[in-house]
Symmetry: C2
Subunit: 103 residues, 2 copies
DNA sequence: TATTTATTTCGCTATTTCACAAAATAACAA
DNA sequence: TTGTTATTTTGTGAAATAGCGAAATAAATA
């Protein structure tokens, strides 16, 4: 579980996770949008894989990464329960959170 | 915002935050339960303060730390929103109403 | 003013993290 | 087998992080 927090601590990794939310992607496709060297990207993907935040399957020479939503959900709800924070009840909360997420 | 994730990445700091959930505490009281040296603890408290996860007020010679729940809530809801992970309550209702339940 | 208590800052070491270029590996096609 | 593409592993260096003991600071009290 602690590995999940560490994985989320890096902005590049959070960006990758957000990209994978829409659809699964190969490492090469990710590399087109994340401007770090391939070795660096590979390292980030390994951290995400170790935290089980992403799953990988090979298709020929390409590796397909996809978001493991359940692990992310578990982490978020673990945080919520650890601090006894309830679900938001107003749309304003959701908008506020969406705005904060872009920073 | 990124500072919040980094602050949460360390298990000692998460422990401190959980302690502060119940009630505010002085640095000395925190030190009794967190077994690191005082300089190390002071460093952790500074990280939490920089992320605005805690507020500090001085009472005489002692510094009182208390959890800034709103910043923690914002971080959690930012995560939920970024990954479209819905709370199983009103948030789902709002989304469902807004998008006419399609996906 | 001098002392005591609570906490921080300073100075240092060890470990981890992030980044890159170059070399290596995996799968496939010719 | 040789070559091509996709991706990772290796090696290295710079910067950040966590840890500690010793010294410094802030506030209260004698």
């Amino acid at each position: 579980m602690s590995e999940v927090y560490k994985a989320l601590a890096d902005p590049t990794r959070r960006h990758i996770l957000e990209m994978l939310r829409t659809s699964e992607m190969s490492a090469g496709q990710i590399a087109e949008q994340v401007h770090v060297s391939k070795p660096t990207l590979s390292g980030h993907l390994n951290v995400l894989k170790a935290a089980e935040l992403v799953d990988v399957t090979r298709h020929g020479t390409t590796l397909i990464y996809r978001l493991n939503t359940s692990v992310l959900e578990e982490a978020i709800f673990a945080l919520m329960s650890a601090f006894k924070i309830g679900a938001p009840t107003e749309q304003a909360d959701i908008k506020g959170a969406a705005h904060a997420a872009k920073e």
